[in-house]
Symmetry: C2
Subunit: 380 residues, 2 copies
């Protein structure tokens, strides 16, 4: 279990097969996010139709609601949400720091108040692992602290704590059918990132995650950190870049040796009427589309593009019909999954390296990480 | 086109086949409501999977948004919303009287203000037919006035206006591929209902609608009106009971000779977490269901019941995930479509009459027409 076989390389990029209890993952792979045990507005059938393989769900959210013990008693996350393919849960660390109302960190763990009802809770590495064992995803994460990348002094403290928590997470882990990944932290400081990469790589884990990126730093800083980290990681373990990203980020990440990505962007954009398209990101609420008989993307093979016009989707948006979000989510997710398929094919046939500039140019109009509307949304 | 063949009878109930340009309708049939050219939260694929045949859409809403000329220019309602099976539009009359902000009725038509932006519009029989011809449904309705059933004096005025408007609607109609139904009105007054039934039946239309019921009168009054009206209608034309209703209403309606029904109830209930179930209507938000591993209805063949537990659906509701509405809508619609299938089978095999008491008892717990939550919702 959890074998990772590299099947092709192109400079630092690679394709691979990661074996999990719920099937093989072809990497590089993009994982849709199902925060609360559902990829918002989509059924599992929709996800199968777009060839999603890995789905991420959030430990913090599921611990609070409906509770990890309930999920365990109902047969685990796969059965609860009826997703038969591989799943990944995060450690809850990032959400405690970004969503919880108040938090108090000490070396042992974090005490925080729920964003839902203000009740007090405490996460430790041992608690995070226990929750993730109850949830039962194939890939689970060590508990980590994600610090403000601009607070350089504090970043070392958070990184060192993350290392100790990674060791404790590994020690707490009991289930043999889950792959625990350690998380590289270190903000935007090359020396800390290098130190963290070396430390996390020294732990006996079937894969390694890179956290604390795409949290407000510049694209250049993110690329620099990847340039520092990935060469220090063992070739034979998959690398997961947490919470990233835009189509451009995926291309840049694969080029720098990343194998696994997840991001709320495609579904969040969809709920704000924004669709990935060849001419750049489209805001389908725009009056321009009122009589546009074309699909979102004529080259796309998804249900939405095979079936509906931009005019119809715009009507749904203007009429405040929720189906709009469903249809755009299907397309946006399929667009990124197709991008990953295309990338895998081009790595396998040796053309990836040469195609990177064209891919980046093709996706440039879909590149922005945030819009005003997106910032207002919290994926809760 | 628009042939109606009666295939079996059981006292006043009958099964039939109504031929339309988009295929044959097996009657009695229940039509899901797609007010704004979408059955809320469902894709056309979901509707096909539950064997929906006829879908209703609302003329008033589509005229205001996105506009009937836009729908026409984009190929008509079937193509616009990608529903390949038969469709029905109402005349807009009921919505003008129930939704528009202000309205002024004269013998020629109705001037009203849009509930969306307060803009002023005017519907006449000719205008309603022109809009419905632009929309292009298979079955369309004569323009009618639906009056308060408790205002007996006014009911005659509204009924007589409805009759003149039915004649004008018939005269205005141009498209040969649409079946125009006249609408019987007359409130809850047996003499007016009888007069209206006779008049509407005298018009040369391929079917007849019964309006102005399920608008606040008692169940007994509705049954009495059906007992007056259906015996006066020609056998060889389908009868459509507009905006009805609960499972109990469907059983009672078929028993009294009704062939076509539509109602927002199943999808509206779904959005308020309420599901049809063997033990009566379930409010799935209830804590009772937190660990309930059963499907909504173990005897149901829908995707929701084949796939998900009550516990999972309850989690989605509590977590405010929109997928809950989708999953319950699939089930609630399938429940009524299955009920109609069961009724057709029992009419065909001669057991319907004997089974009515058992059917009514079986559905009794799902019978209430309105709940507080439902009253607050306006299907806009």
């Amino acid at each position: 279990m959890f074998q990772f076989s590299i099947t092709a390389r192109s400079n630092r990029a690679r394709t691979g097969v990661f074996t999990t209890p719920h099937g093989e993952l072809l990497t590089p792979v993009f994982a849709p996010v199902g925060t609360q045990a559902t990829v918002k507005t989509l059924t599992p059938e929709h996800l199968k139709e777009i060839d999603a393989t890995l789905v991420l769900s959030n430990t913090y959210h599921l611990y609070l609601r409906p509770g990890d013990e309930l999920v365990r008693d109902l047969g685990g996350l796969h059965r609860f949400m009826q997703w038969p393919r591989p799943m990944l849960t995060d450690s809850g660390g990032f959400q405690v720091f970004s969503l919880a109302q108040t938090r108090k960190i000490d070396d042992d763990g974090v005490t925080f108040k729920s964003h839902i009802d203000g009740s007090t809770h405490r996460f430790t590495p041992e608690k995070s692992i226990a929750i993730q064992e109850n949830l039962g995803a194939d890939i689970i994460m060590a508990f980590d602290e994600c610090s403000d990348p601009n607070d350089h002094a504090y970043t070392r403290i958070a990184m060192e704590r993350t290392h100790r928590w990674a060791e404790r997470s590994l020690q707490a882990k009991r289930r043999p059918d889950q792959a625990l990944f350690g998380i590289v932290q270190g903000g935007v400081q090359p020396d800390l990132r290098a130190e963290s990469a070396a430390f996390i790589a020294s732990l006996d884990t079937p894969g390694i995650a890179i956290g604390g990126l795409s949290v407000g730093e510049t694209k250049e800083e993110m690329h620099n950190m990847l340039d520092v980290v990935t060469p220090l990681l063992p070739e034979q373990r998959p690398r997961y870049l947490m919470g990233v990203g835009t189509p451009e980020d995926l291309i840049n990440g694969v080029w720098r040796g990343i194998d696994i990505f997840d991001c709320v962007l495609p579904t969040r954009l969809a709920r704000h009427h924004s669709a990935f398209a060849p001419e750049g990101r489209l805001n389908l609420m725009n009056a321009t589309f009122a009589r546009d008989e074309r699909p979102i993307d004529a080259s796309c093979d998804c249900y939405t593009c095979r079936t509906f016009t931009r005019a119809y989707i715009r009507h749904l948006i203007v009429a405040k019909e929720l189906l709009a979000g469903t249809l755009i989510s299907i397309h946006n997710l399929r667009a990124l999954i197709r991008l990953m398929e295309e990338i895998r094919t081009s790595i396998a046939d040796g053309s990836f390296e040469a195609r990177v500039p064209a891919l980046l140019a093709q996706w440039h109009g879909n590149a922005e990480r945030k819009s005003t509307a997106e910032i207002q949304d919290t994926e809760m």
